[in-house]
Symmetry: C2
Subunit: 336 residues, 2 copies
C-alpha cells in the first residue's frame, strides 16, 4: 500500500517540512507569519515558547519506573520526542486560554493529543501501511524497534493518552468537562475520526470517480477532526459554553480543511528541496487532490475562503483570539 | 515472530478452546463447573445469561451511521462479535453487582473491556506479530480486511472503548468514579499493561535465563492486569470503597495468574484435539513456561494456591461473591 498524500499531510501538520519550520533565524528572511492577522501578535515567539513547555510535559509523560518497561517506554518516547511544531497541543492551550483557563488546565489534554497524533504516525509508517523508513529525518519507529514493538508502542501511546487526561487534569476542573474531553478524544480516532478517514482513503485509492465530497470527507476525518477536538477540548477545559465550543469547532474544522487544501497546493507548487520530501508524489499517482479536482487557482480560493470562515467564527472573542487567528493565517500563507 | 503461548492463553481466555466452552448440551456429560465452589451457584447458566446480554450490548456498540464508515465498522464488528466467553465483561458485571450496582451501571465498561481485548487479538494476529490466519475457527481480521484495515480497526476499537465508557455510563454514577475507570483502562494497555507485558515477552523470547520472576511479570501485565481492571472497575462502579476495590484487585490478579499457569499446564497435558489448536507448541519452542521452570506438579500446586488466595480475598462478601468464586474454581478445574 502506498498512500503518500496522507503521510505528506501528517508530516506537514507535525512540522517536518523545513520550509515552514518557524525558527528564530528565519525571522529576518520572511515576513512575519502573522502579518495578515488583525493584530501584531508575534506568532513565532508564541509557538516557540509553547513548544518548549509542551515538550517538557511530553518528556515527563512517559517514564519507565521498572527495568521491564524500559524498552516499551523507550519506543514510545522515541517517536513522541521526535520533534514537530506540536500544533495540536498549541491549539488546545490557546483555546483554553482564550476562555480564561490556564496552560496547566489544558496541558494533560495537550499531551494526550500529541500522543494520539504520534500513535497515528507510528502506525502509518508501518510496512503494512505507508512503509516509510524515515520521519522527521530519523528512522521510523519500526526501523529501530521492529514492527511488533512499533505496533505495541502505538497502542500504548493511544491508551496512555486517555489515562493521562483522566489522571492529570487539575481537580479544579468539573469532572463532567473532563469526561467530555475523553469522549471527544475517543471519537477522534474511531470510525468518524482518524481510522475511519484512513480506511475511506484506502477505499478510494486508485479509483477514478472520487468526488470532491469524498475527498472532503476523508480529510475532515483524517485530519480536521483531531484539530477540531484539540480546539474544542481546550475551550471546554477553559470553561466555554456549549455555543462557544461550537464556534471553536467551526474554526478548527475550517483550518483543518484549509491545511489539507494548502498541502495539496504545496505538493504541486513546491520543489522537493523546499519541502524536504519527495514533492508532487500525488501527481504521479492516481491520488485525488484538490488541485486535480478543482484546479490550482480554485483550490487557492478555497483555502482562502476556509481561513476567512475560520477567522469569522472567532470574531466574538476579539483580541483574546489573537493566537488562534494568527495560526489560521499561518496556514494559508504556506500556500501563497 | 512467533509467540505461541501468548496467543494460546488469549484464545483460552476468550473461549476458543472447545474443551472448556460451556454449552448446555455439555452439562450432562461433565460435573458442574462450580462443583468445588462453596455454594451451589449455577455458573453455566450464569455465564450463558450474561453472555447473551453482553453480546447484545457489544453488537449495538459499533454502528455505522454513514456509508463512509461501513468498512471500518464492519471490520471492528467482525472481530468484536466473533464469539468467546466474554469473561472480562462478566467479571466486571459480577463485581459491580457484588457491591449492589446494576448490570446497566457496569455495561459500558464491560463493553469497553471486550473492545480492548479484541483490539489486542487483532493486533496480535497480524503478520508482524503472531501471524495467525485463524481465530475462533474463522479467518483473522487481517485475512479478511487486509493488514492496514486490521491495524486501524484495532486502533478504532481501543479509542472507542474510552469514548463508550465516558459517554454511556449512567449519569447516576459519580463522574470521579467514571474517570477512575478511564484511568485504569488506559493503564491496562500501556507500559505496565498489555503492551509492556508483550514487549517484555518478546525480549525474553529464545533466552535461556528467563526466571520465574520474569515469567510472572510478563503474565501479570499481559493477562492479569486487564482481568484486574475488569473486576476493580466493576467494584468501583458498584460503589465499593477503596479497601474493597483492593480486595477485588488481589482476587483478580491471582485468578489472572492462575489462568496462565493452568494454560501452561494444559499445553503439556491436553491433546491437540481437546484444545482445538496445536498443543504443546511451547514445549517445542524455547518458550519459558511454568511447567518448564517449576515442574508439572509444582505448577498444579501453584495454580491451586493462587485460586485459594483469590477466593480468600473475597471472603468478606459471603454469598454475594458466589459468581466470582465460581469463576475462580472454573479456572483451576480446567487444569485438573
Amino acid at each position: 500500500m502506498t498512500n503518500l498524500s496522507r503521510f505528506a499531510l501528517l508530516s506537514l501538520l507535525s512540522g517536518t517540512s523545513t520550509a515552514f519550520t518557524v525558527l528564530p533565524s528565519q525571522q529576518n528572511h520572511h515576513r512575519p507569519l502573522s502579518a495578515s492577522a488583525t493584530t501584531d501578535f508575534d506568532l513565532n515567539s508564541y509557538l516557540l515558547s509553547k513548544k518548549e513547555v509542551i515538550e517538557k510535559a511530553l518528556d515527563a509523560s512517559v517514564e519507565s519506573l521498572t527495568p521491564e518497561t524500559d524498552k516499551i517506554c523507550e519506543s514510545m518516547s522515541y517517536s513522541l520526542m521526535a520533534g514537530g511544531k506540536r500544533i495540536r497541543p498549541v491549539l488546545c492551550i490557546a483555546a483554553c486560554e482564550m476562555f480564561g483557563g490556564s496552560e496547566a488546565d489544558a496541558m494533560p489534554t495537550a499531551v494526550a493529543l500529541e500522543m494520539i497524533h504520534t500513535m497515528s504516525l507510528i502506525h502509518d509508517d508501518l510496512p503494512a501501511m505507508d512503509n516509510d523508513d524515515l520521519r522527521r529525518g530519523k528512522p521510523t519507529n519500526h526501523k529501530i524497534y521492529g514492527d511488533d514493538v512499533a505496533i505495541l508502542a502505538g497502542d500504548a501511546l493511544l491508551s496512555t493518552s486517555f489515562q493521562h487526561v483522566a489522571q492529570n487534569t487539575p481537580s479544579t476542573i468539573d469532572p463532567h468537562r473532563i469526561l467530555d474531553v475523553v469522549i471527544r478524544l475517543g471519537k477522534s480516532v474511531g470510525p468518524v475520526g482518524l481510522a475511519g478517514g484512513q480506511v475511506m482513503d484506502l477505499e478510494c485509492e486508485g479509483k477514478s470517480d472520487v468526488t470532491i465530497s469524498d475527498l472532503t470527507w476523508i480529510h475532515t476525518h483524517k485530519t480536521a477532526t483531531l484539530l477540531q477536538v484539540a480546539v474544542a477540548s481546550g475551550a471546554i477545559l477553559g470553561g466555554a459554553t456549549e455555543e462557544e465550543v461550537k464556534s471553536c469547532e467551526r474554526f478548527a474544522l475550517d483550518i483543518g480543511l484549509a491545511f489539507q487544501v494548502a498541502d495539496d497546493i504545496l505538493d504541486v507548487t513546491a520543489s522537493t528541496e523546499d519541502l524536504g520530501k519527495t514533492a508532487a508524489k500525488d501527481l504521479d499517482s492516481d491520488k485525488a487532490t484538490y488541485p486535480k479536482l478543482l484546479g490550482l487557482e480554485e483550490s487557492k480560493d478555497e483555502a482562502r475562503r476556509l481561513v476567512e470562515d475560520a477567522k469569522a467564527s472567532l470574531a466574538p472573542y476579539g483580541e483574546r483570539a489573537a493566537p488562534l487567528l494568527a495560526i489560521a493565517d499561518y496556514i494559508i500563507e504556506r500556500s501563497n
